[in-house]
């Protein structure tokens, strides 16, 4: 059971956390919604939940709840640019289908 992060992604997260001033790490998760079943959650974390699992990736704390872990195991978080747009990408081996935009997926 593991989640990893590329170096560019980790640097971004560190910078965003520094800028925000508070927060213990980055929450990755899924929720059931969206046009193709599941959608990703990517949020700052101020408080840990009891069940949360915490990983250390490239110096960043990644926090995942056990339910999401099932869908995210083996995922690598990356940061990239497409034209003028930039942001985080989930490279998730569990995904079988995703909607055209990739914002939601099925496993």
């Amino acid at each position: 059971m593991a989640i990893t992060m590329t170096v560019p992604a980790a640097e971004r997260v560190k910078a965003f956390l520094d800028n925000r001033g508070t927060g213990i790490g980055l929450r990755l998760g899924v929720k059931t919604s969206g046009c193709s079943g599941m959608a990703y959650i990517i949020e700052f974390v101020d408080e840990l939940e009891e069940e949360d699992q915490v990983f250390e990736c490239e110096g960043v704390k990644v926090i995942v709840d056990p339910k999401s872990m099932v869908y995210l195991d083996g995922t690598e978080l990356d940061y990239g640019k497409e034209g003028l747009n930039e942001g985080f990408k989930f490279n998730n081996p569990n995904v079988k289908n995703s909607c055209g935009c990739g914002e939601s997926f099925t496993v």
Partner: protein, 627 residues
């Protein structure tokens, strides 16, 4: 694969439901767009990596889309009539107001029957609103590409001194560009928000905005999350350009050019660009070497920061004189200012920051790029307004668009909350009864700037009943107007002696389009004089009624006892005359008649006074009445 941003805890949006919002600094010289991504507010760049978009639009022959930005700016010399710059100076101004604006407009204004001036171009006549919309469209396109979706809303900044017409025109431009304006935000307020000053409990802040072509100073007071503009000052034709001109003159002298620089435009252009470069280099170095060469003129030498400072010192001093005036207008002493914020590219010049620091006696805030700080603040505000932050972080910066008031005797409107008051707000005013023994009062809530009830907008009517009978003017009825953060007005009335009260809720802006608000404002200016006359007449008519009422009540009671037949007849006749005069249209004549009645009946009032004193004293000893 979608590119995702980090949300605040619990604020992750469903797919395709991201609340994308941006802040736009629509400037006179340059414009910028910024947004909050993963908690960071930053300006967005175009494909070349450039953040700043020159606010210049070049129109081309019909069918060819206009060019906006750097390419348009570059064409301003070869195609001056179709390349429109600085339209912010004329947006929202009527054709006749244009002559009073400082600075020169090389454009040809089209004859038009509407009040909005139109500029003649090769692509037809365009309004300043349309030109601004072109600039906004380019920024919008950049945002959509950078954020991967349509914008849900934007916050557009405007100078603090912009009037309603200028603000409305700015909103219209955004609408024309297909943008939804969440709110217009004052530029100095945006700069304060960028530095997080809004999260402080309260304080007075000075925003020193020294751009390329304009200088503005705003004194803001923050109380409970609301920024109030205490005063503004500025010079619409004083900017970094003036420093460049001083420097270019000096360079011309060094090179041995003796004719006025204005006579040779391309030489002037060369010197100005050299001046700008030297100025920028000296913002990080203490001394640079210059090599100036134009035609036969050639000069090499060293140029120090100290020399630069000497040349530009007078320009900086001019800005500080304006700052001093703004502080005086706001009735604020220098040491009451808690933070000073630097805005505008010209504040990068070290001397400017030093002089501002020396003036206020405290280091100004300049950690955020002064050219981008306004857009950054607008983006932060837009992010909150569109709902990406947790509740309770909403800034309240709205003001009442029109005055709110009550109808008083004679069909006049009495303002309780003046227009442009920041909301939320509560104001109370005391009213009283008009007649003896009056037990109820009808309250008519009004919105608008006109003097007479029928010219304003009626919002609601309600009644306060159960006032205990008292003589006219003795009851004290406190009417409280309260406008909450959403613009919801509630009015309550309470008689202070008996405690009876009544209240009502209304939504004042409901059903009023911005255009109607503006129409009502314009009417209030247009009819200002006739309104005033109508009000004076009504006031005298009310006063006449009151006098007649009081005289008749008195005569009824003791007229026959205290007056002989001739005196009584004379007074009755005067009352009749006043009654007739009351329905005339001449407020001066009514006023005179009232004065006459009052003076001619003085003897009667004196006798009544004597009588009541006698009654009070009769049968009492001196000891009983001495204090």
């Amino acid at each position: 694969m979608a590119l995702l941003q980090i949300s605040e805890p619990g604020q992750s949006a469903a797919p395709h439901q991201h609340h994308l919002a941006a802040g736009i600094d629509l400037g006179t010289t340059n414009s910028l767009i910024a947004t909050v991504r993963s908690g960071v507010a930053e300006t967005l760049a175009d494909h070349q990596g450039t953040h700043i978009l020159p606010s210049v639009v070049r129109y081309r022959i019909a069918g060819e889309p206009p060019i906006v930005g750097t390419a348009a700016l570059a064409a301003s010399i070869e195609d001056p009539l179709n390349t429109l710059a600085s339209v912010k100076r004329i947006i929202g101004k009527s054709a006749e107001e244009l002559s009073s604006i400082p600075g020169q407009y090389p454009y040809q204004f089209a004859e038009s029957d509407s009040a909005v001036p139109k500029i003649e171009t090769i692509a037809g006549a365009v309004t300043p609103i349309e030109v601004s919309a072109e600039i906004l469209s380019v920024l919008q396109q950049r945002a959509v590409e950078s954020m991967g979706g349509e914008l849900e809303g934007v916050v557009v900044t405007v100078p603090a001194y912009f009037d309603d017409a200028q603000r409305q025109a700015t909103k219209d431009a955004a609408k024309l560009a297909g943008l939804h304006v969440l709110r217009l935000l004052n530029e100095p307020t945006a700069a304060a928000v960028a530095y997080g000053l809004d999260s402080q409990p309260e304080g007075i802040h000075a925003i020193y905005d020294f751009g390329g072509g304009t200088f503005d100073i705003s004194i803001l007071r923050l109380t409970k999350g609301v920024f109030e503009v205490l005063s503004t000052g500025g010079d619409a034709v004083l900017g970094g350009d003036d420093m460049d001109h001083q420097l270019a003159q000096w360079m011309g002298q060094q090179m041995g050019i003796d004719q006025p620089l204005e006579e040779n435009p391309s030489q002037l252009k060369y010197l100005l660009s050299e001046a700008r470069r030297a100025k920028e280099q000296l913002s990080t170095a203490a001394e640079i070497s210059l090599h100036l060469k134009f035609g036969a003129f050639d000069w090499q030498g060293l140029f120090s920061l100290q020399q630069l400072n000497q040349l530009i010192e007078p320009v900086v001093q001019r800005t500080l004189r304006i700052v001093r005036r703004a502080l005086r207008d706001a009735n604020i002493e220098k040491d009451e200012v808690s933070e000073v914020v630097l805005v505008g590219g010209s504040t990068r010049v070290p001397l400017v920051a030093q002089q501002v620091e020396a003036f206020f006696g405290r280091a100004p805030l300049q950690g955020i790029d002064p050219e981008r700080v306004v857009a950054v603040g607008a983006a932060i505000q837009a992010d909150i307004l569109v709902g990406n932050k947790k509740d309770g972080e909403l800034l309240l910066l709205d003001v009442t668009p029109l005055s709110l008031g009550l109808e008083i005797m004679g069909g006049m409107s009495e303002v309780v909350i003046p227009r442009n008051t920041t909301i939320p707000v509560a104001r109370a005013q005391d009213f009283t009864t008009f007649k003896d023994g009056q037990t109820a009062m009808s309250l008519h809530v009004l919105q608008g700037e006109r003097e007479m009830v029928e010219d304003n907008r009626s919002l609601a009517r309600f009644e306060l009943r159960g006032i205990p009978p008292m003589v006219a003017g003795a009851a004290r009825i406190r009417v409280t107007f309260q406008v909450d953060a959403d613009g919801l007005l509630s009015v309550s009335a309470r008689e202070e002696v008996s405690g009876v009260q009544a209240e009502i809720e209304v939504r004042p802006s409901y059903g009023l389009s911005d255009g109607e608000v503006e129409g009502m404002l314009k009417d209030s200016y247009r009819f200002a004089e006739s309104d005033r006359d109508a009000r004076m007449l009504r006031e005298q008519q009310v006063e006449a009624s009151r006098t007649i009422e009081a005289m008749e009540a008195a005569l009824d009671k003791d007229g026959e006892e205290l007056l002989n037949a001739a005196e009584l007849g004379k007074l009755m006749q005067m009352i009749e005359e006043l009654r007739e005069m009351r329905s005339s249209e001449d407020s001066r004549a009514i006023e005179k008649k009232i004065e006459q009645v009052n003076s001619e009946s003085e003897f009667y009032a004196a006798r009544r006074m004597d009588q009541s004193v006698q009654q009070a004293l009769s049968g009492k000893s001196v000891e009983e009445i001495s204090p």
